[in-house]
Every structure is written in C-alpha cells, then in structure tokens.
Subunit: 282 residues, 4 copies
C-alpha cells in the first residue's frame, strides 16, 4: 500500500553540536521508496549513515550558532509490504535453534530490563504454550492495564517502571512488551514508524516478536491499524532507535508528522483475541 509520509522538525542551536535523526523510511526489498526528499533549511551537508546493527538509515549533521534555527523537512512516498501468516501451530523453539542475528534481541537493554521480569512474566503468561498467543495475550494485558497518558513518563522511563506504575505513551507500551517477551525467551525488538490514522499525528512505536522465523508486529496501544505503518527503524529499544539524538545545546522546538494514503483500497487490520493471524513487514 502506498503512503505519503512527511515530517518537519525545528531546532534552536545554541552551541556547536550534532543532530542524528532517524526519520527516513526504510528502503528494503519490499518497502520501496518511490520518491523521497530531505531538506535542511538553511542548507547543511548531512551524511546518511547506516546503523551498525542493521539497515536503519540515520542522517547526521553538525550544527553551530551560525545557523541558530534549523528546519528539517522529510517527505516520501513509500510502498510498504507485509504478509499475514497463521500462527495456530507455532511451537516454542529452543534458543539453540535461533539464528545468530536474532540472539541479541533476547538480551535485556536500557529500557527493557527483562532480567528483572522473569518470575513476573512467567507467573502471568508462562502457562500459554503457543508463543503467538503468549505475545498476543501480554500485548492485550498491557493494552488493558497500562493507561495511555501523555506526559506521565519521560525519556528515562523504562519497562521496570511501567510494569508497576502502569501509565505511559507508545514508547513505554513497546518497551514493556519487549521486556515481557525477552523475559519469556522470545526475541523482541523495538519498531518505529509513520502511522496512518494515528491521532494526534506523531511518530509511532510498537514492537516485533520473533515467531516461526518471522518478525511479527504487535502494538499494545491499539491506536492504529497494524497494516498502516511505514517502517523507519528497528532496534533494541529507544536507546538505539530514537527519532532524534541531540548532542550539544540544541533545543527541539516544534514537530509536525503526517502519514496519508497515496492510493485507495486500504482495509485496516487488527488482531483479535482467539485468532492467530500475525502481520510481518517485509
């Protein structure tokens, strides 16, 4: 399905510094970038770089007080692509059978302290034998128990906080989902993207669990159809997949984001309890 995505971010620069932005739609075999444009106003040379761990497309540029106000505009038309598979007969697999590239996603990370959640996750979800059902159940638990509350958390909030305090935003919902999965020995990673129908419009975060050899998408917020996402990045958590990393005395001022259909025929897809159909982006 084709989407037009757009973002415009403005910064005030008060010292020499560096901005690393993670706002480009990912270009993969199956998520094709039809047109794309990045503008820095005023013009600054920016390097596109690929994060060490994957295919994420970062843009990095130095700033200084010669240009005290920077406006970054990105717009693209992207054709995303996904598949829906049936996980009714998914089995737990031993870690020894997992590919090496997937193993890092079993580790605890800055915002997903799965090492502190083993007993809790096992007490809550360990009884479920089908791994897809396990992840769907924990996703629904987060959706029902954690209150979506803007401003209740900050950039330091982690899954260990959220599991108890039970309030947060999409980033916190994703971190908790990931932490539960890893605590249950299911590889999981953070997913950021442009999201069709997200209100208010913003970047979105959710997560993917590795099931039957596929990265299957889950979104504990339930705010958007699962098939309306344009992938930007995947990673351990927001520590390596944040939309922006700012170094120096540079202030974020203002941001606009949008994600609109570029063709007709979109049919929203959500998971339902009791069904075992999972969506994977390609």
């Amino acid at each position: 399905m084709k989407f037009n995505v757009f973002t415009q971010v403005e910064y005030s620069v008060r010292s020499e510094g560096t901005l690393i932005l993670n706002i480009h739609a990912l270009g993969t075999a199956k998520q094709s970038i039809i047109t794309e444009e990045l503008l820095l106003d005023p013009y600054i040379r920016a390097d596109e770089l690929h994060a060490q761990q994957g295919e994420n497309r970062l843009v990095k540029f130095g700033v200084n007080t010669d240009t005290p106000n920077i406006k970054v505009t990105y717009r693209a038309t992207v054709n995303n692509s996904y598949e829906i598979n049936d996980f009714s007969n998914t089995q737990e697999i031993q870690v020894s059978e997992l590919p090496a590239s997937v193993l890092p996603y079993l580790n605890p990370s800055r915002y997903c302290e799965s090492d502190k959640l083993y007993r809790m996750a096992d007490n809550m979800f360990g009884y479920i034998s089908n791994p897809f059902e396990k992840v769907l159940t924990l996703t629904n638990w987060i959706n029902r128990k954690v209150q979506y509350l803007s401003g209740s958390t900050n950039a330091q909030t982690s899954a260990f906080d959220t599991v108890t305090e039970q309030a947060g935003v999409c980033r916190d919902f994703a971190h908790l989902g990931i932490a539960f999965c890893r605590a249950l020995t299911i590889p999981a990673r953070y997913f950021t993207g442009y999201a069709y129908l997200l209100k208010p419009a913003d970047f979105h975060a959710c997560f993917e669990a590795y099931l039957d050899g596929k990265w299957v998408l889950f979104d504990a917020t339930g705010l958007v159809p699962l098939n309306g996402l344009v992938k930007i990045a995947t990673g351990q958590d927001a520590s390596d997949s944040a939309v922006a990393n700012i170094f120096g005395d540079v202030m974020f001022n203002n941001m606009q984001v949008s994600c609109e259909l570029a063709e007709d025929g979109f049919e929203p897809f959500y998971y339902s309890e009791g069904e075992f159909k999972g969506l994977s982006y390609l």
Copy 2:
C-alpha cells in the same frame, strides 16, 4: 606477547536448554590464535557464531537431561598485540566527526544508564579539557571511591546503583566507567578478557574509550597490568558481552580460569596520573 589461556566450566542440566558461551580469545589481524582447543564433555555439537555487532566469537549448543553434567574446556595460546600512544594533545571532537560504527557506544545501555548521569559527570569531570585526562581521572575516581567487594552486587546491578552505593566487582567498575564516558559524550565499550596476574584468577572486565580514533583501554580496578589482557569480547555492556548466557534450567557449578605467560620478557604497564600514554589493543 604470548599467553596460554585456559578455562573449564561445569554445568548441571535439569531441562532442555541452550548455553551461549563467550570464552574464545578473539582472533584479529593483530591478536593471533596460535593454537586453540574447545572440548565439550560429553561431546555435543557446538556452533561457533559471530555476534551481530562485531567480531566476538560465541559458542552455542543445546543441552538436555540426557547429559546431566557438562564440562566445557577451552585452551589456547594467543599472541596479543597492542600499541601505546601519546594523548597529550588529544582534542574533544564533535559527534558529527565520529565514524558510524562508533556512534552506538554513545547510547545508554542496560547496565550503563549514562542518560541519568549527565549533570553528575559534568559536575565531576566536565572541567577537564583533554579527553584522555578526563577518562583517566574518572577511572581513578572509581578506583579510589568504589570498594572492590565480592558478593556486594549481582547480575542486575547497574552503573546507576554503583555510582551511589560505591561497592562492586570488576564488571561494576567497568559499567560505571562506561556510563561516565558516555554521559560526557565519549564513546565507550565493555571489554572482557583473560587477565595475566589477576588474583584470584577469573575472567576480567574493563572498558575502552574512543579517543583520537582509537579504542583506548582503561581499568578502574587497577588489579592487573593493562598489557596482560587477552581480549575475548567487546560490546555495549555485560548484557551482550557476558561470559555465559544460560537458557533453561541449567546450573553453573564450577569454573577455573587461568592466563599465563608463554614467553619471557613481560613488562607490566599501568597508567600514571599526569602521564598521557594510552594503550590500545589491536
């Protein structure tokens, strides 16, 4: 310098499970493996795999209750190789000048919550302009203030705990050093290895800071000469560079480690306050 390194680890297996061990000396252009042997008793097929993020050599194998006791033996003769450079004139560099492969080591991680230490690190060490001196000073601060106390911490202890509670073991000393560096916008990574003259013999952990285009070694414990290490792995922190990851009901029983000289002429090298000579493994 040539070293004979050795480890033997025993596990009791009570369920199906997986062991991922990170005990192989790294083989690089400049750290050459002269001889090497890995034995699993009883014999189990093991896969060597390279961690996604680098050159670390992991060994992965499945276990089950058919072999309730497993003994893993690794021995190697390794020629390590390092250089010592002068950092007297090292300058701070902007993040925008760093290579892409180094940027992940500015992120906070599970055990190195640098995002919580910005003001503290800046208050303590921000006044020092030479980055080498900055890292040496913070390393010495850890050495003087944090008490080396076996059993005072556990696998969940992080730099945020250690900076306040001021007790721990080599892993905790390394995590705190890394967290301070990253909070000061200096890339830093975890380093594990075999350590000559470490008493009692054990695996060792310290850290590397990225200065003047090199990964320079620092060891806040001060327990061993810096040039007596045989590198096993580098990574974000113990979450991706631990000696062992165990999945399933498998109990660690017993471990021996040794690191001995395989040739003459070793001259121990330590840093001194006021000097600006830094050691980098190659």
Copy 3:
C-alpha cells in the same frame, strides 16, 4: 495462650558503637509478660526505651572494643491474646473518618512505596468491595506469586522491587502487602514477632491492616498459624521496626530464636478464601 520465647544474638565489636535491639515481647493490657529476662554478657548497662511512635520496647546500649564479643540473651514467658471477628459486612470508609493515630499508616515509607503502586493495585484488587476480602485477596496473590527464597533479597529491597521480581523472604512479603494496602487507601503497618511453628526458627514479619476499627493480622508467607505469634513491634516498615539497628563497626555473628508453647490446647488458626474471619492481637 502462653508461649516461651527466647533469643540469643552474638556480635563482634570492632569499634565504639551502639546497638539498638527490638527483641522484647510487647507488654500490653492483653499481651502480658509473665516472666522476662535480658542478659548481656559481659554485663553492659542497657536502657530500655519506648519508640516515639508507639509502645515498642527497644533496648539500647553502647559498645566498644573493651568487650570485643557480646552475647545478648532474652527469654520470656508471655500470654498473648487475640480476638477473631467477622468482617463479612465491612464497608470501605472515607479517610476523613479515620482516627488521627491511624493516618500515618497511609503514607508511603522506605520499603513500601505505595505511591508508585496506585494503578497496579487498583487494576488488580480495586474491583473488590469488601475491604477484608480485598486484603485477603492481595495477601493470597503474594503468597502464590512471590517465591519464598532465602538470600534473594537484602536489607535494601523494597516492595517496588518485590512486586516485579517476585522473590523474597517474610520481610519482603510483608512490605509488599503493606504497600498494596496503602495504595488502596487501607492503613497498614509492619508487625514483627516470635512465631510458633516457624521453620527454620527465626523472627517473623507480617502485617496488619486497619479494618472496621481494628488492626487485623495478615501473613502472605502462610508459614505459621496466625494465632501463634508473640508481638514484638509494629511500625511503618522494617526501617523503624527492624530487630536490630547497629551503629559502628559491629558485626552480627550468630542468632538463635525459639518460640514454644507453655501450655496445652493450641489450635492453629489460618484464614481461608471465602471466609471473612479476621484475627486481631490485643
């Protein structure tokens, strides 16, 4: 019912210091001390003092290196006294109706961070209207979910840790019970005592909730009959009701505790789900 209680604690003294022990059975209108003896060997003058907040009987004495080994022996015969009431028709009451002396037990405290558990407690237990049933249900939840595991926690572990990590000892079980109650606006306090039938013999900790004008006992460990306790102290949590507070370089070496029947006819009393009979010490 009459019990013989006994404890003997030994300390090594390496500097000038102070010991404050909280090992005396409480003497109240209804818990009578029949005989009692406190011995310090070698003899040191000790002051009995009453904690500011209540009737707890502390013993305080200075130590120094003239007496490098101290043995404290306490033995008493105590007649405890309790009542069992029916809480089938207990109603929630407004805070405005609570007596002033009870209000402090709604506050969060060092080991009972109820202020972080509001949403979680409400999500888990808020639907239950009878307050006795609410406390019984949360007590049973702790009993089923938290693993009793000696050595898994330390003196710094708090309810915020335990609710997630789900392992601990009697102190941790009590702290979590208290934190849940306070988060649900039910006053709750820490209770320590000698415990008949506790194996291995030790001091015991549980908690009381304020219901229908009475302090009703709950024990999430389920290790002992509720009517076999000889009360030592009540308080906010272990921060003001610990068995011992040590100041100076004084090492705890060894402890024995016992609690035996001094008369016949003991019939163990436990709560059952679905029943609404609660026990209060007098």
Copy 4:
C-alpha cells in the same frame, strides 16, 4: 520577628474524598500565633488534628460532589523565635547518647534512602570531624552541584535519584541533605514553612540536623534567609509532612502563598563557610 502568612488553595471535587492539609503555622512555646483564621468556602466542618509524631497541626475534612469547588484560605500573624549558637567545638556523639525521641530521624525513609548512601557520604564528607561543619559542607555541596530546576522532578523523586541526576526543587534539596546526614549517623528531619523573600512565593522545604542537643536549620537551596521562616511542620520527609494529602478524585487547581514582615527590623541571616554559627527555631 512577626510575620503575616497567607495561603489560598482551590480544589475541584469529582468524587467523595478527604483532604488533609498541613498549612497551619506551628504554635509552640516560642512560635506564638498572634491571630489566625481558617476559612473553607463553601463551609465544611474541618477537624484539626495533631500528627502522631509531633506537634504538627493538620486539618482534615471530607469532601463530596455537592461542593464541586472548594477554596481554603488560611491567614495568620505569627511571631517566630530562634537562637543562634556557636558549634565550633561540637563533637560527634555516639548514638547511645541520643535521646529516644531523636532516634527515628536516623532511619531511612521513603524519600531519604540513607541506607544506600553510606559509602558515598563517607567518601565525600566522612573526613570532616566537626559535625556542624560536616552538615554545612554537604549543604553547600548540594547547593553547588544540584541544579534548581522547576518541573525536573515529581512527587516520587527521592534522594537516591537526586544525588545522581542533580536537578530538583526545594523538596529534593532537603531530601538529599537529610539522606546524607542520616548516612553519616547524624539525625535529620524535614522542615516545611512559610518563607519570607522566597521568589516566586511558595511553601518552602529545608531540613534540620540534630547537633549538640539542638535541631539546627540548613537550607541547601540558599534561596531565603534562614531567619525568615515560619515553621509549619517537621517530619521524616515529605511522606509525612507534605502540605496536602488528597484522597479521592480531587484536583488541585490553584494556590497562592505569601509571607510578609509584620514589623520592622529584619536582618537576614545566612551561614558562611568557615563560620560555625547555627540557627535553631524554638
């Protein structure tokens, strides 16, 4: 010195609930209330109650949706009274010499986790032998290192956070001062009051340390003269001495506070490094 103090607080009431306010100036032998008035608009019967642990004067009243908007007004003319003593020759005293009423202020509490700060406090301030100088030095350290930053913390922030994150408001400054003192075996308690010359006008929090048999005032914020305070309450920390405790769905809307001179001749008093004159309210 005479002061006119005033506060007006407005709440929206959305459910049955209870408000407990701690806004009355303390009336003691030496802080005399000359005139005083409390108004609830609309009128609700309020109980004045004394907190269990001391002389604090709380006002408690039930609210419900019959009165959806409540305005509480308090105004008083108060004559405070203090003494200034010389602590040049103050000695450390053993805990065994402290009065029983002071001992609770050595315990860790919800927002002052002194039990986690022993090594850090000793490393930083343990070398200072005069206890007044010790407390003055740690107070000045907080003043220099911790950034006063409105909105950087919330009601759950504790000294363990602040010592590392080094930003906060007066409450956080006080909690850290208390935690350091207790970690150094100096009793310390939270102090709230009306504060002359505080800008912007608000309630103020600082702390008292127990030195030479007196509760001596320290204020790490340095925002106001130490002799311009009208005491409201002292306690363990904000958990028992907060200005307001709200139970039920009641929203704080708006607050005004003022503290003005009611007579001439005020001479502001601050501590100076190197001087050993300490102020105690009577």
